[in-house]
């Protein structure tokens, strides 16, 4: 599934709405402030595309709500904002290290055939990678089973691609615009020099 143009359009509109909220508020001369504003509003826009159906979108909204509650409330005014922000995160957060250590203790007397060892190592590696994936995907720690994790990853990747495509187009357009203006500024100079 590739990002569709309707998704991109919706993302752009939401992002603009978010930036409009920011415009009178922040200190316009600080680059880092502006960057944060842009990124947060883009993230919320991307997450709101899914309207709270996916786990990662809810987690992302909650994460940005910790940084800027006001923005999130304003952006999601129509779409059950209160429930999304205030919803408690699911308590599936198990302390994996503790679980692993106890399992290791219980597992002392397992058989040690060569094939089993290799298989066990492969399984361990896969588990490590899935844990890494959980760290990367927002809200990954709360996804208890692997099927859900992979589904969420799929959706998250598509949304990220949408976000990056739109942002890139905007940046390129802005760049081209700024260069044009620079050119226009420069032209009278050339004319004078030629003349």
């Amino acid at each position: 599934m590739q990002p569709t143009s309707s998704m991109k359009e919706e993302f752009l509109q939401k992002w603009q709405m978010g930036l409009q909220i920011y415009r009178p508020l922040i200190d316009n001369t600080s680059v880092s402030e502006r960057r944060k504003a842009i990124k947060l509003s883009a993230d919320v826009a991307m997450a709101s595309l899914r309207r709270g159906t996916t786990c990662w979108s809810r987690a992302l909204i909650q994460k940005t709500a910790t940084e800027d509650n006001f923005l999130v409330r304003q952006m999601l005014s129509g779409i059950k904002a209160e429930t999304l922000i205030n919803k408690k995160l699911p308590k599936v957060m198990c302390h994996r290290k503790i679980v692993r250590r106890s399992k290791k203790i219980l597992r002392r007397r397992k058989s040690r055939s060569a094939i089993e060892e290799v298989a066990a190592k492969a399984r361990k590696l896969v588990k490590k990678k899935t844990q890494g994936l959980r760290n990367v995907v927002p809200g990954g720690e709360f996804m208890s089973n692997d099927v859900l994790l992979i589904q969420e990853t799929l959706d998250y990747i598509v949304s990220l691609q949408t976000q990056v495509n739109v942002m890139r187009s905007i940046v390129d357009a802005a760049e081209a615009g700024s260069e044009r203006t620079a050119y226009y500024l420069g032209k009278p100079k050339f004319a004078i020099e030629d003349g």
Binding site: M1, Q2, S5, K8, E9, L12, Q13, W15, Q16, L19, Y22, R23, N28, T29, V31, R34, R35, A37, I38, A42, D43, A122, V126, K129, T130, G132, L133, V136, V137, D146, I150, Q151, T153, L154, Y156, I157, V158, L160, Q161, Q163, V164, N165, M167, R168, S169, V171, D172, A173, A174, E175, A176, G177, S178, E179, R180, T181, A182, Y183, Y184, L185
Partner: protein, 331 residues
């Protein structure tokens, strides 16, 4: 098929003793028989297992066949094997047994005696369930139906209540969806491992989708490698977002995307033309395809404060694009 089964040599051998080619031959014969058999799918597995079971006991064989006979003869209320089917299916079983009868008259003649087998059947029913779980053959399993049959088989006191339950359960079964799982040869057939295998297949299917989505994943085999690539891709996408937002912050101090509603549609044209995101380093400078400058008028992009914006534009791309800009403006 039954001649192979009921012949004394095979009976004296236990299942485990049979060598692999014999088993294969039996399976082949078995499948041929299956082709000729009924339309209803739920019971043939049971029948197969009952007809070919691991024990040397031909009493068991006889008892099961006689059981079917008795079912046909109206004894079915007591020993409903949990099929809960309509009578056509039952008749089908009977026809199968009757066809079996034709093949091997010697043992079947014994089976025609109904009387003393009845008591033995309840005991044998229990053994059947154990035997079944030990079987290492191809079984097609419908998970809900399986539960029903197993629970009913192990029921010693198969009274009329259970028959009612199973008939209710059967109507429920028809409404539910089946998860068709085929146990492969040499693998356990209990519920848990089959359910686990279904789950694993679901995961691998989703991983295939991911492989299509993430560029460069086709070369890697194995779950760990694919997961690695996915992690890298997601991280690079997130980094790109950060970089682009920083760049936009630099270029665009008013946070004015500057796109009017009218021009959003024209933007869409650009979106579709722009290449899909590649998982490479986020250098956007050189890749920029130029805008068709006929549509310039609609792009009101931060032209309001030209004094501020021009200085920030990096010089390298200015070099590459200035000439084409120049040329198109002169048109």
């Amino acid at each position: 098929m039954l001649e192979g089964l009921v012949s004394p040599e095979s009976l004296s051998l236990s299942y485990a003793d049979m060598s692999v080619p014999e088993r294969l031959k039996w399976l082949q014969q078995h499948q041929q028989q299956e082709v000729l058999s009924l339309s209803s799918n739920d019971s043939p597995d049971l029948l197969q297992i009952l007809q070919f079971h691991g024990s040397n006991n031909d009493e068991l064989l006889q008892s099961t066949f006689s059981h079917f006979q008795m079912v046909g003869s109206g004894f079915g209320t007591n020993y409903n094997m949990g099929f809960g089917h309509s009578h056509e299916a039952m008749d089908g079983y009977i026809s199968r047994t009757s066809s079996c009868q034709i093949h091997s008259p010697d043992t079947m003649g014994v089976m025609l005696k109904n009387s003393e087998e009845n008591r033995a059947i309840s005991l044998k029913n229990k053994r059947k369930s154990e035997v079944k779980t030990r079987e290492e053959e191809k079984t097609e399993k419908k998970i809900k139906v399986e539960a029903e049959t197993e629970s009913n088989i192990s029921n010693k006191e198969a009274s009329s209540d259970t028959s009612k339950e199973t008939s209710k359960g059967a109507s429920q079964i028809q409404k539910l969806d089946y998860i068709h799982v085929r146990a492969r040869r040499g693998e356990a057939t209990d519920r848990h491992s089959l359910a686990e295998r279904a789950r694993r297949e679901k995961i691998s299917k989703k991983m295939k989708y991911l492989q299509d989505l993430v560029p460069g994943c086709n070369t890697v085999t194995g779950k760990a490698g694919v997961l690695d690539e996915i992690i890298n891709y997601v991280q690079s996408l997130q980094r790109q977002v950060e970089f682009l937002s920083m760049k936009l912050a630099v270029i665009n101090p008013e946070l004015e995307l500057g796109v009017e509603d009218l021009s959003v549609k024209q933007f869409q044209a650009y979106f579709t033309n722009f290449p899909v995101v590649i998982a490479s380093k986020p250098s956007v400078m050189v890749d920029v395809p130029l805008f068709p400058l006929d549509q310039q008028g609609s792009l009101n992009l931060s032209v309001s404060n030209p004094n501020q914006t021009s200085i920030d534009a990096p010089s390298e791309s200015w070099e590459t694009q200035s000439q084409s800009l120049f040329a198109s403006v002169l048109r």
